[in-house]
Symmetry: C2
Subunit: 174 residues, 2 copies
DNA sequence: TTGCCACTAGAATGATCGTTCTAGCCGGTG
DNA sequence: CACCGGCTAGAACGATCATTCTAGTGGCAA
Protein backbone atom coordinates (compact mmCIF):
# COMPACT_ATOMS: atom_id res chain seq x y z
CA UNK A 1 0.00 0.00 0.00
CA UNK A 2 3.09 2.16 0.22
CA UNK A 3 2.93 2.33 -3.57
CA UNK A 4 -0.46 3.97 -3.42
CA UNK A 5 -3.86 2.76 -4.49
CA UNK A 6 -3.42 2.94 -8.24
CA UNK A 7 0.15 1.69 -8.03
CA UNK A 8 -0.87 -1.50 -6.26
CA UNK A 9 -2.04 -4.06 -8.80
CA UNK A 10 -4.29 -6.88 -7.64
CA UNK A 11 -2.10 -9.43 -9.39
CA UNK A 12 0.94 -8.17 -7.53
CA UNK A 13 -0.95 -8.21 -4.24
CA UNK A 14 -2.01 -11.82 -4.81
CA UNK A 15 1.61 -12.78 -5.35
CA UNK A 16 3.18 -11.17 -2.30
CA UNK A 17 0.26 -12.21 -0.09
CA UNK A 18 0.46 -15.82 -1.31
CA UNK A 19 -3.26 -15.68 -2.01
CA UNK A 20 -4.77 -16.41 -5.42
CA UNK A 21 -6.99 -13.82 -7.00
CA UNK A 22 -10.05 -16.01 -6.47
CA UNK A 23 -9.48 -15.91 -2.72
CA UNK A 24 -9.15 -12.15 -2.75
CA UNK A 25 -12.59 -11.84 -4.34
CA UNK A 26 -13.98 -14.53 -2.03
CA UNK A 27 -13.09 -12.57 1.09
CA UNK A 28 -13.58 -9.12 -0.45
CA UNK A 29 -16.58 -9.36 -2.80
CA UNK A 30 -16.40 -5.60 -3.23
CA UNK A 31 -13.17 -6.02 -5.18
CA UNK A 32 -10.22 -3.67 -5.00
CA UNK A 33 -12.17 -0.89 -3.30
CA UNK A 34 -13.25 -3.10 -0.39
CA UNK A 35 -9.79 -4.61 -0.08
CA UNK A 36 -8.28 -1.14 0.04
CA UNK A 37 -10.82 0.06 2.60
CA UNK A 38 -10.07 -2.85 4.95
CA UNK A 39 -6.33 -2.47 4.46
CA UNK A 40 -6.55 1.24 5.24
CA UNK A 41 -8.58 0.63 8.39
CA UNK A 42 -6.23 -2.10 9.57
CA UNK A 43 -3.01 -0.18 8.97
CA UNK A 44 -4.60 3.02 10.27
CA UNK A 45 -5.47 1.27 13.52
CA UNK A 46 -2.04 -0.34 13.76
CA UNK A 47 -0.30 2.99 13.30
CA UNK A 48 -2.48 4.59 15.94
CA UNK A 49 -1.54 1.85 18.41
CA UNK A 50 2.10 2.35 17.54
CA UNK A 51 1.92 6.05 18.33
CA UNK A 52 -0.01 5.41 21.54
CA UNK A 53 2.65 2.90 22.59
CA UNK A 54 5.28 5.61 22.16
CA UNK A 55 3.28 8.01 24.34
CA UNK A 56 2.71 5.25 26.91
CA UNK A 57 6.43 4.68 27.18
CA UNK A 58 7.17 8.38 27.60
CA UNK A 59 7.05 10.16 30.98
CA UNK A 60 5.02 13.09 29.62
CA UNK A 61 3.49 14.43 26.42
CA UNK A 62 6.49 16.61 25.63
CA UNK A 63 8.77 13.56 25.66
CA UNK A 64 6.13 11.54 23.82
CA UNK A 65 5.97 14.13 21.07
CA UNK A 66 9.75 14.19 20.76
CA UNK A 67 9.91 10.38 20.63
CA UNK A 68 7.22 10.19 17.95
CA UNK A 69 9.05 12.43 15.53
CA UNK A 70 12.37 10.79 16.35
CA UNK A 71 10.92 7.34 15.72
CA UNK A 72 9.36 8.51 12.46
CA UNK A 73 12.71 9.91 11.33
CA UNK A 74 14.53 6.69 12.18
CA UNK A 75 11.92 4.53 10.47
CA UNK A 76 12.28 6.63 7.34
CA UNK A 77 16.05 6.24 7.35
CA UNK A 78 15.95 2.52 8.10
CA UNK A 79 13.48 1.80 5.26
CA UNK A 80 15.19 4.07 2.71
CA UNK A 81 12.24 6.46 3.01
CA UNK A 82 9.60 3.91 2.02
CA UNK A 83 7.96 3.28 5.39
CA UNK A 84 5.97 6.41 6.19
CA UNK A 85 2.28 7.19 6.64
CA UNK A 86 0.24 4.28 5.26
CA UNK A 87 -2.77 6.50 4.61
CA UNK A 88 -1.53 9.77 3.10
CA UNK A 89 -0.64 8.58 -0.40
CA UNK A 90 -3.98 6.85 -0.90
CA UNK A 91 -5.84 9.73 0.75
CA UNK A 92 -4.53 12.22 -1.80
CA UNK A 93 -5.06 9.83 -4.70
CA UNK A 94 -8.72 9.15 -3.93
CA UNK A 95 -9.73 12.49 -2.40
CA UNK A 96 -11.40 13.69 -5.60
CA UNK A 97 -12.10 10.42 -7.39
CA UNK A 98 -13.45 7.80 -4.94
CA UNK A 99 -15.87 9.05 -2.33
CA UNK A 100 -16.03 5.71 -0.50
CA UNK A 101 -12.30 5.52 0.11
CA UNK A 102 -12.08 9.25 0.83
CA UNK A 103 -14.48 8.82 3.72
CA UNK A 104 -12.42 5.92 5.03
CA UNK A 105 -9.27 8.04 5.08
CA UNK A 106 -11.17 10.90 6.71
CA UNK A 107 -12.38 8.60 9.49
CA UNK A 108 -8.84 7.36 10.14
CA UNK A 109 -7.44 10.90 10.38
CA UNK A 110 -10.33 11.83 12.67
CA UNK A 111 -9.59 8.82 14.88
CA UNK A 112 -5.92 9.78 15.06
CA UNK A 113 -6.81 13.35 15.92
CA UNK A 114 -9.15 12.24 18.71
CA UNK A 115 -6.49 9.91 20.06
CA UNK A 116 -3.90 12.66 20.16
CA UNK A 117 -6.43 15.09 21.64
CA UNK A 118 -7.13 12.85 24.62
CA UNK A 119 -3.40 12.30 25.06
CA UNK A 120 -2.73 16.01 25.22
CA UNK A 121 -5.73 16.58 27.48
CA UNK A 122 -4.51 13.89 29.86
CA UNK A 123 -1.08 15.52 29.74
CA UNK A 124 -2.37 18.81 31.08
CA UNK A 125 -3.49 20.76 28.04
CA UNK A 126 -6.92 22.37 28.27
CA UNK A 127 -9.46 20.46 26.11
CA UNK A 128 -10.18 23.19 23.57
CA UNK A 129 -6.50 23.79 22.98
CA UNK A 130 -5.74 20.05 22.95
CA UNK A 131 -7.79 19.45 19.80
CA UNK A 132 -5.99 22.27 18.01
CA UNK A 133 -2.63 20.97 19.15
CA UNK A 134 -3.51 17.45 17.97
CA UNK A 135 -4.42 18.78 14.52
CA UNK A 136 -1.16 20.71 14.29
CA UNK A 137 0.68 17.59 15.47
CA UNK A 138 -0.86 15.44 12.74
CA UNK A 139 -0.44 18.02 9.99
CA UNK A 140 3.20 18.58 10.92
CA UNK A 141 3.88 14.84 10.99
CA UNK A 142 2.23 14.34 7.60
CA UNK A 143 4.03 17.31 6.12
CA UNK A 144 7.23 15.86 7.50
CA UNK A 145 6.63 12.51 5.84
CA UNK A 146 6.02 14.24 2.54
CA UNK A 147 9.06 16.51 2.62
CA UNK A 148 11.38 13.87 4.07
CA UNK A 149 10.41 11.25 1.51
CA UNK A 150 10.72 13.66 -1.41
CA UNK A 151 14.16 14.86 -0.29
CA UNK A 152 15.23 11.52 1.18
CA UNK A 153 16.33 13.51 4.21
CA UNK A 154 15.08 12.64 7.67
CA UNK A 155 16.57 15.73 9.30
CA UNK A 156 13.50 17.59 8.06
CA UNK A 157 11.35 15.33 10.21
CA UNK A 158 13.64 15.92 13.18
CA UNK A 159 13.52 19.67 12.66
CA UNK A 160 9.73 19.57 12.63
CA UNK A 161 9.86 17.46 15.78
CA UNK A 162 11.78 20.18 17.60
CA UNK A 163 9.23 22.76 16.51
CA UNK A 164 6.33 20.57 17.62
CA UNK A 165 7.98 19.87 20.96
CA UNK A 166 8.22 23.60 21.65
CA UNK A 167 4.54 24.00 20.82
CA UNK A 168 3.56 21.23 23.23
CA UNK A 169 5.80 22.69 25.93
CA UNK A 170 4.12 26.09 25.77
CA UNK A 171 0.69 24.48 25.71
CA UNK A 172 1.48 22.55 28.89
CA UNK A 173 2.98 25.49 30.77
CA UNK A 174 0.18 27.98 30.28
CA UNK B 1 -2.35 16.40 -12.47
CA UNK B 2 -4.68 16.75 -9.52
CA UNK B 3 -5.58 13.11 -10.11
CA UNK B 4 -2.00 12.08 -9.49
CA UNK B 5 0.63 10.63 -11.79
CA UNK B 6 -0.80 7.14 -12.21
CA UNK B 7 -4.35 8.46 -12.34
CA UNK B 8 -3.62 10.70 -15.31
CA UNK B 9 -3.80 8.73 -18.54
CA UNK B 10 -1.99 10.05 -21.59
CA UNK B 11 -5.08 9.56 -23.71
CA UNK B 12 -7.13 11.67 -21.32
CA UNK B 13 -4.43 14.34 -21.25
CA UNK B 14 -4.40 14.50 -25.05
CA UNK B 15 -8.15 15.03 -25.05
CA UNK B 16 -8.39 17.85 -22.53
CA UNK B 17 -5.28 19.57 -23.88
CA UNK B 18 -6.60 19.38 -27.45
CA UNK B 19 -3.30 17.84 -28.49
CA UNK B 20 -2.99 14.50 -30.26
CA UNK B 21 -0.80 11.83 -28.72
CA UNK B 22 1.72 12.19 -31.52
CA UNK B 23 2.28 15.82 -30.58
CA UNK B 24 2.80 14.89 -26.94
CA UNK B 25 5.61 12.54 -27.92
CA UNK B 26 6.98 15.08 -30.38
CA UNK B 27 7.44 17.73 -27.72
CA UNK B 28 8.23 15.30 -24.89
CA UNK B 29 10.30 12.46 -26.38
CA UNK B 30 10.84 11.11 -22.89
CA UNK B 31 7.18 10.14 -22.76
CA UNK B 32 5.01 10.37 -19.71
CA UNK B 33 7.92 10.82 -17.32
CA UNK B 34 9.25 13.87 -19.14
CA UNK B 35 5.79 15.33 -19.55
CA UNK B 36 5.18 14.90 -15.83
CA UNK B 37 8.53 16.42 -14.94
CA UNK B 38 7.87 19.54 -17.01
CA UNK B 39 4.31 19.84 -15.70
CA UNK B 40 5.55 19.57 -12.13
CA UNK B 41 8.22 22.24 -12.69
CA UNK B 42 5.75 24.57 -14.36
CA UNK B 43 3.00 24.24 -11.77
CA UNK B 44 5.56 24.28 -8.97
CA UNK B 45 6.90 27.58 -10.26
CA UNK B 46 3.42 28.99 -10.75
CA UNK B 47 2.40 28.10 -7.23
CA UNK B 48 5.54 29.69 -5.84
CA UNK B 49 4.75 32.91 -7.69
CA UNK B 50 1.21 32.80 -6.35
CA UNK B 51 2.44 32.56 -2.78
CA UNK B 52 5.00 35.28 -3.34
CA UNK B 53 2.28 37.52 -4.74
CA UNK B 54 0.30 37.01 -1.53
CA UNK B 55 3.32 37.99 0.56
CA UNK B 56 3.99 40.98 -1.71
CA UNK B 57 0.45 42.24 -1.14
CA UNK B 58 0.70 41.84 2.63
CA UNK B 59 2.18 44.54 4.89
CA UNK B 60 4.33 42.07 6.83
CA UNK B 61 5.15 38.36 7.05
CA UNK B 62 2.61 37.75 9.79
CA UNK B 63 -0.19 39.04 7.59
CA UNK B 64 1.30 37.25 4.60
CA UNK B 65 1.24 33.97 6.48
CA UNK B 66 -2.35 34.52 7.54
CA UNK B 67 -3.39 35.40 3.98
CA UNK B 68 -1.67 32.32 2.53
CA UNK B 69 -3.58 29.89 4.70
CA UNK B 70 -6.80 31.80 4.25
CA UNK B 71 -6.40 31.77 0.48
CA UNK B 72 -5.63 28.05 0.54
CA UNK B 73 -8.75 27.39 2.58
CA UNK B 74 -10.93 29.41 0.23
CA UNK B 75 -9.47 27.77 -2.85
CA UNK B 76 -10.22 24.36 -1.36
CA UNK B 77 -13.82 25.32 -0.66
CA UNK B 78 -14.34 26.94 -4.04
CA UNK B 79 -13.01 23.91 -5.95
CA UNK B 80 -14.81 21.32 -3.82
CA UNK B 81 -11.44 20.32 -2.35
CA UNK B 82 -9.86 19.46 -5.68
CA UNK B 83 -7.51 22.42 -6.10
CA UNK B 84 -4.72 21.94 -3.57
CA UNK B 85 -0.98 21.34 -3.80
CA UNK B 86 -0.11 20.32 -7.36
CA UNK B 87 3.01 18.47 -6.25
CA UNK B 88 2.16 16.49 -3.10
CA UNK B 89 0.08 13.70 -4.63
CA UNK B 90 2.66 12.93 -7.28
CA UNK B 91 5.51 13.33 -4.80
CA UNK B 92 4.12 10.60 -2.56
CA UNK B 93 3.27 8.37 -5.51
CA UNK B 94 6.74 8.44 -7.04
CA UNK B 95 8.86 8.81 -3.88
CA UNK B 96 9.76 5.12 -3.84
CA UNK B 97 9.18 4.11 -7.44
CA UNK B 98 10.55 6.78 -9.82
CA UNK B 99 13.84 8.36 -8.85
CA UNK B 100 13.77 10.89 -11.68
CA UNK B 101 10.43 12.37 -10.68
CA UNK B 102 11.25 12.13 -6.98
CA UNK B 103 14.22 14.41 -7.54
CA UNK B 104 12.02 16.87 -9.43
CA UNK B 105 9.56 17.07 -6.55
CA UNK B 106 12.44 17.45 -4.08
CA UNK B 107 13.83 20.37 -6.06
CA UNK B 108 10.45 22.10 -6.10
CA UNK B 109 10.00 21.73 -2.34
CA UNK B 110 13.56 23.00 -1.87
CA UNK B 111 12.82 26.01 -4.06
CA UNK B 112 9.66 26.77 -2.09
CA UNK B 113 11.53 26.47 1.18
CA UNK B 114 14.27 28.84 -0.01
CA UNK B 115 11.65 31.31 -1.20
CA UNK B 116 9.88 31.29 2.15
CA UNK B 117 13.20 31.47 3.98
CA UNK B 118 14.22 34.69 2.25
CA UNK B 119 10.72 36.08 2.86
CA UNK B 120 10.98 35.43 6.57
CA UNK B 121 14.55 36.74 6.67
CA UNK B 122 13.47 39.94 4.94
CA UNK B 123 10.62 40.18 7.42
CA UNK B 124 12.91 40.33 10.41
CA UNK B 125 13.56 36.70 11.34
CA UNK B 126 17.18 35.76 11.93
CA UNK B 127 18.50 33.64 9.01
CA UNK B 128 19.07 30.38 10.91
CA UNK B 129 15.58 30.51 12.38
CA UNK B 130 14.02 31.59 9.09
CA UNK B 131 14.92 28.33 7.36
CA UNK B 132 13.35 26.35 10.19
CA UNK B 133 10.25 28.50 10.11
CA UNK B 134 9.95 28.08 6.35
CA UNK B 135 10.12 24.30 6.69
CA UNK B 136 7.44 24.32 9.38
CA UNK B 137 5.38 26.64 7.19
CA UNK B 138 5.54 24.29 4.23
CA UNK B 139 4.96 21.12 6.26
CA UNK B 140 1.95 22.67 7.99
CA UNK B 141 0.50 23.84 4.67
CA UNK B 142 0.97 20.41 3.10
CA UNK B 143 -0.48 18.65 6.12
CA UNK B 144 -3.40 21.04 5.92
CA UNK B 145 -4.05 20.19 2.29
CA UNK B 146 -4.02 16.50 3.12
CA UNK B 147 -6.34 16.70 6.13
CA UNK B 148 -8.68 19.25 4.58
CA UNK B 149 -9.08 17.29 1.36
CA UNK B 150 -9.67 14.00 3.17
CA UNK B 151 -12.28 15.52 5.47
CA UNK B 152 -13.62 17.99 2.92
CA UNK B 153 -13.34 20.59 5.65
CA UNK B 154 -11.37 23.79 5.15
CA UNK B 155 -11.61 24.89 8.77
CA UNK B 156 -8.68 22.54 9.42
CA UNK B 157 -6.57 24.64 7.09
CA UNK B 158 -7.73 27.81 8.85
CA UNK B 159 -6.94 26.34 12.25
CA UNK B 160 -3.44 25.49 11.06
CA UNK B 161 -3.13 29.02 9.72
CA UNK B 162 -3.80 30.47 13.16
CA UNK B 163 -1.15 28.22 14.65
CA UNK B 164 1.38 29.16 12.00
CA UNK B 165 0.65 32.87 12.41
CA UNK B 166 1.45 32.61 16.12
CA UNK B 167 4.71 30.90 15.32
CA UNK B 168 5.71 33.64 12.88
CA UNK B 169 4.72 36.33 15.40
CA UNK B 170 6.99 34.93 18.10
CA UNK B 171 9.81 34.49 15.56
CA UNK B 172 9.54 38.16 14.58
CA UNK B 173 9.33 39.50 18.13
CA UNK B 174 12.35 37.79 19.61
C1' DT C 1 6.82 25.44 -57.94
C1' DT C 2 9.29 21.99 -55.48
C1' DG C 3 11.19 20.03 -51.49
C1' DC C 4 11.65 19.60 -46.79
C1' DC C 5 10.70 19.45 -42.05
C1' DA C 6 7.92 20.47 -38.00
C1' DC C 7 3.95 18.95 -36.52
C1' DT C 8 -0.74 16.74 -36.53
C1' DA C 9 -3.59 12.77 -36.31
C1' DG C 10 -4.92 8.56 -34.60
C1' DA C 11 -4.63 3.49 -35.59
C1' DA C 12 -1.86 -0.52 -34.11
C1' DT C 13 0.65 -2.93 -30.50
C1' DG C 14 1.66 -5.43 -26.57
C1' DA C 15 1.45 -5.21 -21.71
C1' DT C 16 -1.27 -4.84 -17.71
C1' DC C 17 -5.41 -3.54 -15.37
C1' DG C 18 -9.74 -5.19 -12.47
C1' DT C 19 -13.08 -8.51 -12.76
C1' DT C 20 -15.43 -12.83 -13.83
C1' DC C 21 -15.61 -17.60 -14.65
C1' DT C 22 -14.68 -22.45 -14.62
C1' DA C 23 -12.61 -26.25 -12.34
C1' DG C 24 -10.95 -28.68 -8.72
C1' DC C 25 -9.37 -29.51 -3.95
C1' DC C 26 -10.25 -30.61 0.78
C1' DG C 27 -12.47 -31.42 5.22
C1' DG C 28 -16.56 -32.38 7.64
C1' DT C 29 -21.33 -34.23 7.67
C1' DG C 30 -25.16 -37.29 6.24
C1' DC D 1 -18.96 -43.96 1.09
C1' DA D 2 -21.24 -39.90 -1.06
C1' DC D 3 -21.94 -35.22 -0.89
C1' DC D 4 -21.52 -30.41 -0.25
C1' DG D 5 -19.83 -25.83 0.78
C1' DG D 6 -15.67 -23.01 1.68
C1' DC D 7 -11.85 -22.02 -0.45
C1' DT D 8 -8.04 -22.40 -3.87
C1' DA D 9 -6.17 -21.76 -8.36
C1' DG D 10 -5.46 -19.34 -12.39
C1' DA D 11 -7.19 -18.96 -17.24
C1' DA D 12 -10.12 -15.87 -19.88
C1' DC D 13 -12.07 -11.35 -20.86
C1' DG D 14 -12.64 -6.71 -22.17
C1' DA D 15 -10.93 -2.28 -21.08
C1' DT D 16 -7.24 0.76 -20.74
C1' DC D 17 -2.37 1.71 -20.28
C1' DA D 18 2.12 3.87 -22.46
C1' DT D 19 4.39 3.68 -26.50
C1' DT D 20 5.38 3.23 -31.46
C1' DC D 21 4.30 3.65 -36.15
C1' DT D 22 2.43 5.16 -40.49
C1' DA D 23 0.26 8.93 -43.11
C1' DG D 24 -0.73 13.16 -44.03
C1' DT D 25 -0.91 18.31 -43.45
C1' DG D 26 0.85 22.95 -43.75
C1' DG D 27 4.14 26.53 -44.14
C1' DC D 28 8.69 28.11 -45.12
C1' DA D 29 12.91 28.10 -48.05
C1' DA D 30 15.29 27.43 -52.23
Amino acid sequence: MQQGYLGSGLKHISQISQAPIGSLYHFFPGGKTELAAETLKASGGAYQELVEAVFDAAPDIVSGTRDCFQAAAETLRRSDYADACPIATVALEVASSDETLREVTAEIFESWTESATSRFTAGGVEPARARELATVFLATLEGGFLLSRAAKDATTMELLGHSMVELVETAVRR
